[in-house]
Symmetry: C2
Subunit: 592 residues, 2 copies
């Protein structure tokens, strides 16, 4: 090794020892007779002093050291002395008095200082990712990611799960508009597809008897990218045989506990709370509630149907809903202007036609529309909302769907705006019993809420004939801090039930065979009851890192336009390569 | 869980307990009043007995159980009694007396029995991989693979390595004829490429200060497939900063020790022996010698140049070589017919024009050509070859290259044919100091032996001007049982040396920039000395599994024609998908 110690390990116990360090010049200061440099490596920073009355070649090198030069220094560990101790550094009690120095590699002036105070724009940083990755925040994230995946693997290994690699070169499915395709050279005119998930493979592995599978799996989705998506992403993929859905939830509870322990060093309380889909929609208006704060939605439809306030009255008469939030102490926090503009605008984005609000003052409702509610109604509303003097009550009167979406958004806004939670807190919950089907009004058909392999709650099988919208799936989402952090289900292992689902989705036997033939075949040859789940690893690292940019937890991420700015990918390729792959470009200007 | 125990854990200690098992019907026997089934899961096999005088629904189900049906059985663990103990099974002392049984899933008659005695052809097995993967051999291989990768990760984690994921969607390089390409939807006419290795990324990570990196990385190569290659394969990828090449070798020695410990439970002796490239070519004729057996090549050119045997004499006079093997006790093992036909044919495949041979009899050479060597020459040859009475000496007289290739092949043949080694033995060695360049006579130019980033032995830098063929790279291969099991090098971190290598390879600055621009850029911003290595994981699993078909260590492998027979991949895709990706097919019949 070109060093005997790292830049993070020396302290006063090493004083008097001769050691060799190697690393990058983080800072340099020329104090006349002495040059000081902060030498940096992955493990820390050590101050090195070069006395300029020593050998002249040391002088020469030391005086020319600049940011990001790579040097090897041998010297004696000496105490810094009282006044010069740097309590911020683990090595702050000592410095290395250089005896010999080797300039291992001179650096050009870097495009930005990786430890500078101002961050240049992301494009420049992604172009020079080898400098950007030196930033302490990114380094911490990469180390966190390593530790977290290690903890995940240890957890599953202890439980007799097998990590099994599934193919990256797979098969496209007809609806695979989001598949990345790979032309085959050997099979002219044919294509592989990169997997959007290992879903079908992990089910096959259960059929094959592997009993407990996991994989930290790369997945691909060619979609228009939002801030928190990447064309390639990583998921913790899990499948188990001979289980019921509690078993999966228990297993993942333990996994979350292990991850929190690894990332934060604390014992996270489990089991994680479990809510039905119906419950969270009622109480939080969304299937991804952020439970770092409470602020539940309350329904006052039954209280206001016979009020004199036309908007509420008409809403209830039409079979719709009046629901709202009680913002504790909110009466003097949001002015009429903000309520009528900003907050009304916010709920408007989700389709709500208006926002009604009241202060609670002297035990009564207080607002321009309070007069439309008699005393009894006012008291009932305040009681239902658990309102107290000084609270602000806000209401949306609309369809169930719109009131859910609008109030969920408003709830998130208020939670953040009123700092109702510690941003570093982690709050998880299970949402279970999703509907199996949702009605697609535009296309006048049923769609699968998750995918067509979710098992049905046995007690709901009767609804296939009568009311498919009521069928609950044996599915579950894990929600953390308002994000979907995992999603899964018990799968159908009975070909007859599978057929009923396909029938309802209008998937003909031919089409089913074409799209999922190999899975259907597998299910016929001894499929055990099984189920699984997948957790988005990138999202979990973000959660523990406390960062909100997915590109900060991936070593070599792509931009929102799916470009790798360092590599310059994607790029044009040789015409010969395309010919070998039996394809040609189909660009507007190339069409005759 | 649908079981309280697995099929692998019950023994006489459980007698009297009521337990529930779930699994597959492995065998069934109807003995009149009792039906016996062997119930199988990943953990083992348990015999279940159904007495037919119990409840009639148990009778009904039990009598109809067939191969690969999935059942859940609750019953009492009972002792089998002296005469019926099966010592081959860990559960052989007990059986489960069924009280209730649930047919979880009926299986169609499987296309073959996963535990049958005859193996159907591989095509049928790959089509029904969910049945094939139930075979005990494949299951053992998958479990071995899991354990081995776990041991690898634990080893590196203990040494402060970070596992860092590198992109699958990368950039094609102009010589990337073997790149799999992925058309971009967002960037019309542009393509990603799947990585042949994370080489450039891991070097970037060293420049970025990550110090010690590893990854179990999926790699892709679109080449005509040989028996032991797959279009996608997995490598254990390693890179370290501030190291010299001994440090990499020491680190991998420890890794091999950890892998052998995990797979075989034994302490493998390290350090692994290290040979120079020149040494192994001299002694074994190949840079991938199988050292499970000795059988070295000896060179007798200096002894036979003045013999009367024209072939040897002329060979030596032309500056070529007479080299051979001493097959201990071989005199009566290979008949003249075999020597003149089979073995001569074998060396002929490698370009050798003939095979000369002698028995050692009464301390002298014995063959039709022995007369061309005088006593002194005979004694010198026998001494050089360490021959004894009853040995067979075989010689090839040819160029250095042909004598190496021919004798290496002959050596492998004899080693196997004479069973000179235990096929389960593992024998590893390092081969170091490969030449940096090899002369490509066809194209009249120098080629890089590994890749153009290998560092040069400092003492050989003078040869750039005078004799590039003599420059030794700081490179190293790990060879196991005659296969290349790892390959790596210290990398060039000095842009000036990198330029000299490019110059010699006739890579112009423009071309270098186009092909490796981002790496060259990175090297300019503070690259530490660094090096690394990659081990083929599939090959290592094969080694420990003792199998010689790479498809037996991969859960979902592709055929030699790069097809996934279960998925039916690659496949045709919708015209709309191609339009979205701005490509069209370029097939003979579609050209106007």
């Amino acid at each position: 090794m070109l060093r005997t110690k790292t830049c993070g390990e020396l302290n006063s116990a090493h004083v008097g020892q001769t050691v060799t360090l190697a690393g990058w010049v983080d800072k340099y200061r020329d104090h006349g007779g002495v040059v000081f440099i902060d030498l940096r490596d992955r493990y820390g920073i050590t101050q090195v002093s070069f006395k300029l009355d020593t050998a002249s070649e040391i002088q020469e090198i030391a005086q020319e050291l600049r940011h990001e030069d790579v040097v090897q220094v041998t010297g004696e560990v000496v105490s810094r002395g009282e006044g010069n101790i740097n309590p911020k550094l683990s090595t702050g009690e000592i410095e290395l008095l250089a005896k010999t120095v080797v300039l291992l590699n001179k650096s050009r002036t870097p495009p930005f200082e990786p430890r500078g105070e101002t961050l240049p724009n992301e494009e420049l940083r992604l172009q020079h990712r080898y400098v950007d990755l030196r930033r302490p925040a990114l380094q911490r994230n990469m180390i966190l990611r390593h530790k977290l995946t290690k903890a995940v693997r240890d957890y599953f290994d202890n439980l007799d799960f097998l990590e099994i690699e599934t193919p990256i070169l797979g098969r496209s499915t007809p609806e695979g508009a989001r598949d990345y395709l790979v032309p085959s050279r050997v099979h002219e005119g044919s294509f592989y597809a990169l997997p959007q998930s290992p879903q079908l493979f992990k089910q096959i592995l259960m059929v094959a008897g592997y009993d407990r599978y996991f994989q930290i799996a790369r997945c691909f989705r060619d979609e228009d990218l939002r801030a928190d998506r990447q064309p390639e992403f990583t998921q913790i993929d899990i499948e188990m045989a001979f289980v019921e859905y509690d078993d999966i939830l228990d297993t993942v509870d333990g996994l979350v506990k292990a991850m929190v322990k690894s990332a934060r060093g604390i014992d996270f309380p489990t089991p994680l709370p479990r809510y039905t889909h119906a419950e969270v929609m009622e109480k939080y208006g969304t299937d991804k509630p952020d439970l770092r704060f409470d602020l539940p939605i309350a329904n006052i439809s039954d209280l206001v149907g016979d009020s004199d306030f036309g908007v509420f009255k008409n809403t209830v008469e039409a079979g719709n809903f009046v629901r709202g939030l009680c913002i504790k102490g909110g009466a003097d926090k949001y002015s009429r202007r903000i309520l009528d503009n900003d907050l009304k605008g916010l709920v408007g984005e989700y389709g709500a036609k208006g926002l009604a609000y009241f202060k609670v003052t002297d035990g009564k409702l207080d607002s321009s529309i309070a007069k439309f509610f008699n005393d009894e109604q006012q008291q009932a509303i305040i009681a239902r909302m658990q309102g107290e003097n000084g609270d602000l009550l806000v209401f949306v009167a609309d369809t169930w769907k719109v009131s859910c979406a609008a109030l969920a958004a408003l709830r998130n806004f208020v939670g953040k705006d009123q700092q109702l939670y510690d941003p570093k807190a982690i709050s998880c919950l299970w949402v279970v019993d999703f509907p199996l089907f949702t009605w697609n009004a535009e296309e006048n058909r049923w769609d699968a809420e998750h995918h067509p392999f979710c098992a049905v709650r046995p007690e709901d099988e009767g609804y296939f004939q009568t009311d498919p919208g009521k069928i609950r799936a044996q599915s579950y989402d894990l929600v953390c801090n308002g994000y979907e952090a995992a999603s899964g289900s018990i799968r159908i292992h009975d070909p007859a039930i599978q057929q009923r689902v396909f029938d309802l989705l209008n998937i003909t036997p031919d089409e089913a065979e074409r799209r999922f033939g190999f899975l259907l075949n597998a299910l016929r040859y001894g499929a055990p009851p099984h189920g699984g789940i997948a957790l988005g690893l990138d999202r979990w690292v973000m959660l523990f890192a406390g960062c909100d940019n997915i590109r900060d937890v991936i070593a070599f991420p792509k931009t929102q336009r799916a470009s790798d700015l360092m590599l310059g990918a994607p790029s044009e390729v040789d015409a010969r390569q395309l010919r070998d792959l039996h394809i040609k470009l189909d660009l507007p200007e190339e069409n005759a």
